[in-house]
């Protein structure tokens, strides 16, 4: 059986690292994308430094990766958070957040999507943070994460006829890293009919969630 390839965006973050480790341990070829200049992660077979907010850069990065290995799955775990509350956040800072959360996913989907459509196969999994159990003012963080729901469902409907399955992985914060990694693995490796959905999973210390 041919080795499958996953591209993990935000591979240097906690979620990205956990996913890279899991997929690598299960024999997948793992490509990672993040801002940092160099890679020190042993679980990555390929690493590309790229700012996910920059459309052209993302297009180039994906083109380069596709030359090496066709991407079977993309998992976008590149995230960002505001520490300021709703009333204390300048609109420009909100836009910066949205450019990372929605813009990042939009850019990676636009770059990787066409290749997957051409092959009539592929999965685009977008991490969306669920702040519902978090204290404090998470209004703008949550709103940014919420844009991925309408996005994933609409793009999911558009690409489903090409057997490209787009789903948002809506993960409770604080993250259950193992839960996220395993669920992404399930969706990447085993699932074949979940499309255009917001797949909601428990965070740490939540009902049903892990306590590790």
């Amino acid at each position: 059986m041919k080795t499958k390839t996953i591209l993990i965006c935000g591979c240097k973050g906690k979620v990205g690292k956990a996913a890279a480790q899991l997929f690598s341990s299960r024999g997948w070829h793992v490509a990672g994308l993040d801002l940092a200049g160099e890679n020190a992660d042993e679980h990555l077979d390929t690493y590309i430094s790229c700012d996910i907010k920059k459309t052209e850069a993302v297009m180039k990065a994906v083109a380069n990766l596709e030359d090496i290995h066709p991407l079977d799955v993309v998992f976008n775990a590149a995230g960002a958070e505001l520490r300021t509350g709703f009333e204390d956040t300048a609109i420009s800072h909100w836009e910066e957040l949205l450019n990372t959360i929605l813009g990042g996913s939009a850019n990676i989907c636009k770059a990787a999507g066409p290749y997957m459509v051409k092959r009539n196969a592929g999965k685009l999994l977008l991490l969306s943070s669920d702040y519902s159990k978090m204290p404090g003012d998470q209004i703008l963080n949550a709103a940014a994460a919420g844009t991925l729901h309408g996005f994933a469902k609409s793009l999911g409907v558009e690409l489903a006829p090409s057997n490209v399955l787009v789903n948002a992985v809506f993960a409770g914060v604080p993250f259950d890293l193992e839960g996220i990694a395993e669920t992404v693995y399930f969706l990447a490796d085993k699932d074949s009919y979940t499309a255009a959905q917001v797949v909601s999973i428990c965070g740490k210390n939540q009902v049903g969630g892990g306590s590790k």
Partner: protein
Amino acid sequence: MKYQELVGKTVLITGGTQGIGEAMAVSFSAQGADVCINGRTLNKKVRAVMDKTGARAAMGSILDPQVAEDVVKEAAGAERKLDVLVCNAAGMSMTPFLESKEDQWWEQIKINLTGHIACIQAVLTMMKEHGGGTIIVISSFFGTIGWNNATGYGSSKSGLLTLAQYLARQYEAANIKVCSIVPGVIDTPQLNVDANDLGISLDEVRAMYAEEIAMKRIARPEEIAEMALYMASDPGRRAFNGRHVIVSGGEYRSTPYYI
């Protein structure tokens, strides 16, 4: 008069110059509210709405955050009082996402979501000063279930829904209620965008949607305005605070998830 408590209440409706916004201007005015409509251009059409309803206007595109703030301040007047903010203004463009042009794709998000964030930021202090207020958010089933060729609009409308839930939770103690409406298919000029996307006429798109709706017809804008009125009323704003209602003639059914 259905809702006595709306008499004299100051209501700002963004995108209040046509469609659902215009219908809400009519309904709120009929209840004796002091209505202010916001739109981009003060033309004959807008003046006709003002004449019909007695509403005043605070014009400008909320695409510009400073304009959004100015519009809210103008609507609130010298007393800095705005009882109800209806976040209704919406731009929409439809294209297959992989073929979309970045600027056009983002513009609707900047109006629908970012523009209203700017409006709400401006209104919160004033509402707190006056002991509370109501924010009504108009989302869309394009946001809740997604729709072909509507990734940009869908993103903005799902973002609005999340925004509303979290705002409600944060400002509960300040007696600022945030209620959302998810309209189904409504008979407004925005349907032209759907029609163009499908390459059919307005009448054909109306019939197409109607066929797929349990009630076998699309909504009149007044039917959404009716829900907005209730959400502005005392019992309605309590009942639907932090929540949304899908007003869609039987379609897009779901069991809501709340934080």
